[in-house]
């Protein structure tokens, strides 16, 4: 590159001459137009330019000049741009061809913390009717399904079942094994105090089958599948695919939400059952290897502790959690905005909503089952 930019301001009566020299390129840390604007205050009536010593320029120059011209216009100062290079004049004319839109009220100062909290609460409250409406649509769709009139492709259901169930086995295995392990250790440590270590079997079996199996599976599936549902449906929303279903008179709820809902309601209980068995196997391992409890001793104790109702409680919880995850994932996906950022937001929001719903449902069901004596 040649020499750096030079800017010289010459006042002469009421005329300010802006002398531009050297190389005005963006690579060279150009000055801001305020360097000229500050000189406009003192009785200047005319601004002219002298660019005879200008060697070389890029759009950094007209950007600077546009700022100068704006400052002049604001003060009612006449500008003679004849001294500028032809290309620069052309660009400046082009930039003025479409007047700036007055879009005041946009991008104002960020709101205060109280306002933000208030807005967030209002947003949440306003979101409740939409949630209920979506729930209503799903219930209607389930009604159509029961009547045999819901329309979706069986192949979609099987694909979802495969995606949700078998493909989640590795992660469910690992997590439930480790949780079973932790539970056994925790229990053994306490039960040792009263010399009742054999009850590790009861603790692990009932804990995993009734509560923790379903809860852990629910949370894993919420992160794995709930987020995927939201991202899939959100991307479809961005591509206007969901609008396309609507305009063709195909219910997007039937076609997209029902198969996902059914897949989760079927597969989460099965995964819960599986998680329960893996957890018990981990408990057996800990009891046998660390706490010297016999293999068959543990086995018979487990059989004695477990009743059918425990399995039914676990399965029913799994099914409810599955429905919650599908509901949250599909709801957030369908509500998704039309940009890449919105898809990410939908996925995050789906997981948060699903985990919140699961936790609420878990508490409610535990209390209800206790009161019913199940």
């Amino acid at each position: 590159m040649s020499d750096a930019w030079q800017l010289d301001l010459r006042s002469d009566d009421d005329t300010l001459t802006v002398v531009l020299a050297g190389s005005w390129r963006m690579a060279g840390r150009l000055p801001g137009s305020d360097t000229v604007a500050t000189r406009l205050a003192a009785g200047v009536r005319r601004v002219r330019f002298d660019a005879t010593a200008l060697t070389d320029w890029d759009t950094g120059l007209p950007s600077f000049l546009a700022g100068v011209l704006k400052a002049c216009a604001a003060r009612g100062i006449a500008v003679d741009s004849a001294g500028l290079p032809a290309g620069t004049q052309q660009l400046l004319t082009l930039a003025r061809a479409v007047p700036a839109q007055d879009l005041s009220g946009r991008g104002g100062r960020p709101a205060g913390i109280c306002t933000q909290v208030g807005m967030a609460v209002l947003d949440f409250v306003r979101g409740v009717p939409a949630m209920l409406a979506f729930l209503g649509e799903i219930v209607q769709a389930c009604g159509r399904l029961a009547a045999g009139r819901a329309r979706f492709r069986a192949r979609d259901l099987w694909l979802e079942i495969e995606e949700v169930g078998p493909r989640a086995l590795p992660i469910v295995s690992v997590i439930s094994f480790l949780v079973g392990l932790i539970l056994a250790y925790l229990g053994a440590d306490q039960l040792k105090l009263v010399g009742a270590q054999i009850f590790i079997a009861d603790l692990v079996a009932i804990g995993m089958v009734r509560e923790i199996g379903a809860l852990m599976t629910g949370i894993i599936i919420a992160g794995r599948t709930g987020a995927a549902f939201a991202a899939q449906l959100g991307t479809m929303q961005v591509n206007e695919e969901i609008d396309a279903y609507r305009t063709l008179g195909i219910s997007a709820i039937d076609f997209l939400v029902l198969p996902r809902m059914l897949a989760l309601m079927v597969m989460v209980p099965l995964l819960t059952l599986y998680a329960g068995f893996i957890g018990m196997a981990a408990g057996l391992l800990v009891a046998y290897a660390i706490f010297d409890i016999g293999f068959f001793e543990y086995y018979t104790e487990t059989l004695r502790a477990l009743e059918l109702k425990h399995f039914l409680v676990g399965l029913s919880k799994g099914s409810v959690y599955g429905a919650m995850i599908a509901f949250a994932g599909c709801l957030r996906g369908m509500q998704c905005g039309r940009s890449a950022a919105a898809v990410g937001h939908a996925a995050t929001s789906a997981v948060v909503t699903a985990i919140l719903l699961i936790t609420i449902a878990a508490s409610v069901l535990t209390i209800v089952y206790y009161q019913l004596g199940i």
């Binding site: 950007s63 290309g87 879009l103 946009r106 991008g107």
Partner: protein, 250 residues
């Protein structure tokens, strides 16, 4: 003017894996020229564009920028050469999580030492150039298709590239908006001396702004050098005239 062409393509073959989309491409783009790559759907226009701008390596052949081989160069040189290019993607490809002003400012902030105030001034000017003055705080999702295209052009122009590569400038635009975009491209070329490569199948645009052109033939998988589009319309090869007259050539 300058003896070395701004872009030179030699014996280029582009495609995916074993599937050759176009072969034996040879053409040169001179400084300050508006060069049109035309052809029907699926003829490999976009594949060629991706090889030109460094997004996808060609199967064979060379792309030279002012005499420097692009694909044969080291990673670092390639990045330096790529900085000479400004690319306007078909859908605008604006970053949806950034406002228009942020979209245009990002390349400036990354590649120049300009102060934030100076960047703001340049961004405002670039947005004004494409007729979007005052829209700096808008997010891409809030804009119409034509505005997205123009905002994409402002971003492609952010660093004053020597070469502007534009994929389908008029797709999704009404004829008047498309024409205004064409005029804008010509004005920018005239005032800044930018070399422009336009990949398109829009006849009005090809005939209005092209200085030189090649036609990519989907059947033979190679190109036909066509020169000035207006000339090609009168005396070009039969396929080219067929294309340029929407199949009405005698």
């Amino acid at each position: 003017m300058n003896a070395i062409p701004q872009i030179e393509v030699r014996e280029l073959t582009v495609g995916y894996g074993d599937h050759v989309v176009q072969r034996d491409l040879n053409f040169a783009v001179n400084r300050g020229e508006i060069f049109v790559v035309m052809g029907g759907n699926g003829c490999g226009k976009t594949t060629l564009m991706r090889a030109l701008v460094g997004l996808q390596p060609p199967l064979a052949g060379r792309v030279l920028f002012a005499g420097e081989d692009f694909w044969g160069a080291a990673e670092e040189d390639r990045r330096r050469l790529q900085r000479r290019l400004g690319i306007l993607f078909q859908g605008g490809a604006l970053w949806s999580s950034l406002t228009l002003a942020e979209n245009v400012a990002l390349p400036l902030a990354e590649h120049t030492a300009l102060s934030a105030a100076q960047i703001d001034e340049i961004v405002a000017f670039k947005l004004a150039l494409v007729g979007l003055a005052g829209f700096g705080d808008f997010y891409p999702a809030e804009l119409s298709g034509g505005m997205k295209k123009r905002a994409g052009l402002a971003r492609a122009m952010a660093l004053d590239p020597e070469i502007l590569v534009i994929d389908e400038p008029s797709s999704g635009l009404d004829p008047l908006t498309a024409r205004r975009l064409d005029e804008l491209i010509v004005e920018l070329r005239d005032s800044l001396g930018t070399t422009v490569v336009v990949v398109t199948h829009d006849l009005a645009s090809i005939l209005a702004i092209g200085d030189n052109s090649v036609y990519l033939d989907a059947d033979t998988h190679t190109m036909i050098a066509t020169g000035h589009p207006q000339e090609a319309l009168r005396n070009g090869a039969p396929q080219v005239r067929h294309f340029l007259t929407r199949g009405n050539a005698a």
